[in-house]
């Protein structure tokens, strides 16, 4: 008997006593939460909670209206004294153009190896979903976020997230992130910068992943603040 047949036979015999019915095949498609719509209302509290929880991991959170994103990204990278930046193929053209003038920009297509990326200071990406209760950003590695290694090897990650991408909790995010049909995308869930608590359970930010995480939250409420201020 092959290992496969033998293990399956052992499993079936071990569970022969089970009388409960198998759960009916659940929800097809993207689950109970409707996929993102541009007009999906996001409560002020949810957005505040998201910003608060992201910052709680000692990530930097900057809230700006949409038209200030490019300038903010440039400003953040400059303030950190960084020189080189890799950009995903599908990053907003306006942001890429702004970066082009200010830094040594490496397009994703030229980042052919991890060794190359190891020489780059920062990466700028979009994102897929933000989760307020946990302060998490999920990347689904769509063209505006690039291949997984882009957001892993450089030491600084600047991540732009729209307010309409923020959901309240984990169940909403899980539902949204299920690919309706076909293969599931690779996902990276990020909650603050890389960290460890392996030494006396004392949290230290920054081990192997990016040690600096800057989250630019596109917040139309911030426009009101700006104009009012």
């Amino acid at each position: 008997m092959s290992a496969r047949e033998e293990i399956l036979a052992r499993v079936r015999s071990a569970t022969a006593d089970v009388t409960t019915e198998k759960r009916p095949v659940a929800r097809s498609g993207s689950g109970s939460v409707p996929s993102q719509q541009p007009d999906r209302a996001i409560s002020r509290e949810t957005l505040e909670l998201f910003a608060e929880n992201v910052a709680d991991y000692r990530a930097t959170v900057v809230r700006v209206p949409a038209e200030q994103v490019a300038a903010t990204v440039v400003e953040q990278l400059r303030a950190a004294g960084l020189g080189s930046v890799v950009v995903p193929t599908g990053l907003d053209a306006g942001w890429t153009a702004a970066l082009d003038g200010a830094f040594d920009v490496l397009p994703e297509s030229d980042a052919t190896s991890a060794q190359t990326l190891d020489g780059i200071d920062a990466v700028v990406t979009g994102s897929a979903v933000g989760i307020a209760t946990t302060g998490t950003i999920v990347l689904d590695h769509a063209p505006d976020q690039g291949r997984r290694e882009l957001t892993l090897v450089p030491d600084t990650h600047v991540c732009v997230i729209g307010q309409d991408q923020v959901v309240h909790d984990v169940p909403e995010a899980v539902s949204l992130l299920r690919t309706p049909e076909g293969a599931q995308r690779a996902l990276t869930w990020i909650s603050g910068p890389s960290a460890t608590s392996d030494i006396e359970l004392q949290r230290v930010e920054g081990v192997h992943g990016p040690r600096t995480l800057i989250v630019v939250l596109v917040d139309e409420g911030a426009r009101a603040d700006v104009t009012a201020g």
Binding site: S2, A3, R4, E6, I7, L8, R10, V11, R12, S13, A14, T15, D17, V18, R23, A26, R27, G31, N53, A114, Q115, D118, I131, T133, T134, G135, H141, R148, E149, L152, V170, V174, S175, R178, T179, A183, Q184, R185, A186, L187, T188, W189, I190, S191, G192, S194, A195, T196, S197, D198, I199, E200, L201, Q202, V204, G206, V207, H208, G209, P210
Partner: protein
Amino acid sequence: MVTQPVQQTSPTFVGMPKFPVAAREALANTQQRTNLHNATHTIREKRAAVVGEVDDWEALRVAGAEAKDEALHHLGDYLEQLEESLTARGATVHWARDAAEANRIVIDIARAKEVDEVVKVKSMATQEIELNEALEEAGIHAWETDLAELIVQLFGDRPSHILVPAIHRNRTEIRDVFLRQMGEFGRPAPADLTDDPARLAEAARLHLREKFLRAKVAVSGANFAIADTGTLVVVESEGNGRMCLTLPETLISVVGIEKVLPTWDDLSPMLQLLPRSSTGERMNPYTTMWSGVHDGDGPQEVHVILLDNGRTHVLADSVGRQALRCIRCSACLNVCPVYERTGGHAYGSVYPGPIGAVLNPQLRGTASEVDQSLPYASSLCGACFDACPVRINIPELLVELRGTVAEQGGHRAESAAMKAAAWVLSDPRRLAVAQRGATTAGRLIGKRTIRKVPGLGAWTDARDVPTPPKETFRQWWAREHGDGTTTQRAADPGGRADGIPTSNDGTEPGGER
């Protein structure tokens, strides 16, 4: 007929002494006890704070337990579905009956790739099968990349905790081993290294980065394997997981068959339960989910090894199978008063603490001294059950396993004593006769303190013995109330209404303890 064989005890743990013996040695290690006390108390508070934030934690626990039970009760179907989903997404699925078979599969793949090293993500399954040792024997270096695993590897030590395997070491010990050992295996630690945890983490970052950038093959485990989407999930903190799961060309994941979740949506309770229970965070820094091969992104050759190694033996016990719900969060270790004092090594397995005390004797059977002693390595205080995010009733399992051990025989004196006690206690007259021994002793001893009793050294070495009373309650009651069973005043003219005896009943109020 199909049988479910137990796991062979891995070479490291063969001949381990029984728990009380190993525990005595551990208790004498005062540095380790201090380290463990500080660490477990820190994490307890963190966990309590983030669990307290959740509106209905209990409902979440129930949902988590139900998702795992669904998978376990219909495991055959879900394993087949998982295999199909993985294969459809470009992964190669292997099946391993035991540790040797799993190790051989990994070695064969590594040899086919012509590598002499692999990078590893922290994984309990690969520790269980002692993959590193098997690879080493085959001439392949296995580099542990989790900081704590690296520390353990540099010490030539064994992990003592599921989540923080170097919990028994403090920062100074870690600095010393970094300075002494890192150079042996790659980039040395900077000479001016201090014991500041941030500096130590930096040293690990530099030491491991060259290995990440160079490695062609990585080995991981998985926290969850989702049957309907063919997705594997690794939950981590440092980014070493992402490095291993993303950069190498070939990825081999060793996954216990109990890691299956039926559907994508089952992630929802799990991703809420696990981080809060393990590191005491709302969410761990990084979680990677991959479903087979992703075109042009990450490893282009993906292998998944589905491992039995005693799990079906656990599954065959209708009560015991709940232990397979375990998601290796280690909350039970952190709240356990026994683990806090003995540390993990005394449990004689990679699975220490309360979950180890129930899982090891189920996975490996109860033939060895250590596995026979593990079900008794608990005061049954129940803190583990309260903390368990998937509601494994560990005290219930411990009691059940004690029954299994007792049934094997071997504890002849104890068995005889229990039979005798049961005989005495099943009849009040026999009990009354037996109690005379105690009250006779009580009258002889009077008010003196008992500090030594022959044969009771285990108690009296550090504890005084309660002095027996001169009269049992039963005798007092009979004297005060006669054969009547009621304290009703009319029926009991001899006793005082407040129940306080009118005559000297021979015992001191408050009793002697």
